[in-house]
Symmetry: C2
Subunit: 162 residues, 2 copies
């Protein structure tokens, strides 16, 4: 997607919103349509429009993503009254170099076989929409830069999503 001024600004704001939140809740849809969530180590690198996570190839979340790419990420920092929802399209990516570039000590706790584990996969999430809680106004604010002012999620090619 081209980085329009609106998109660049949305990336900057979302990056600020999620900075310093070390764990995200990653929600996928199971084959029967139920929604299941689990914590995942958030990347420590600054956000540039794409979110990267690590998973083992045989995990349920990897299977869910293979079946259905539409996912959600929640970033919560209750102490700062920060609640962020990211709607995205997830893809599994095998790329050992990128795994190594992403890797830091936080992952070592979750993936004890280490950075060279051949079962490690990347989950790449392209952001489609992001919203954050405005604690003063008590409502969600949409970062329109990701999808434009219409607010409409794009239609997917058949078979990509549900």
């Amino acid at each position: 997607m081209a980085d329009t001024p609106g998109r660049t600004e949305a990336i900057r704001i979302l990056g600020e919103m999620i900075a310093g939140i070390p764990v995200a809740m990653f929600t996928t849809v199971t084959e029967r349509g139920w929604l299941r969530s689990r914590p995942m180590v958030a990347q420590s690198k600054p956000f540039d429009g794409t979110l990267w996570f690590l998973s083992e190839a045989g995990s349920r979340k990897a299977r869910d993503v293979r079946d259905r790419q539409q996912v959600n990420l929640c970033y919560v920092s209750a102490g700062r009254d920060r609640y962020v929802s990211v709607s995205g399209l997830a893809t599994l990516v095998a790329d050992a170099e990128r795994v190594a570039a992403l890797w830091n000590r936080a992952y070592a706790e979750w993936f004890p076989r280490g950075v060279a584990d051949p079962d490690l996969l990347l989950i790449k999430v392209e952001v489609e929409e992001a919203e954050y809680w405005d604690a003063t106004a008590h409502r969600m604010v949409r970062l329109s830069g990701f999808t434009g002012p219409s607010g409409a999620f794009r239609d997917l090619e058949p078979g990509t999503g549900i």
Copy 2:
């Protein structure tokens, strides 16, 4: 659903896990299949197997629930390393008496028109599956009491879910 010993125990454990977490992230699926989340006031009453939330009738989350009942709730307390995922089936319920019974000061901030607002609806979530993060083992633990040892989500009647 009958309260088997396994279910009673699962209700007790889930109740402990979410107690004291004042806000849950409520994830729904939009009509185009995207996943969207937002914070909601969690009930202060002890959990008895059903979760209750308040919403305005015209909200997007109410519309999402009308279209597709399968939802997820995340309860996060990062300081306590607590990450809980609840998969459930949501229903909109109009019941002013129950709204009044649920009501406390926490809701007043989010619903400034107060407990008598005729637009207030209940969102009832029947728990289908719940999992929590075991920080020592670095994995999710499923509370099998909600769906039994098979771990299978039940099939829905056509039209109820996706």
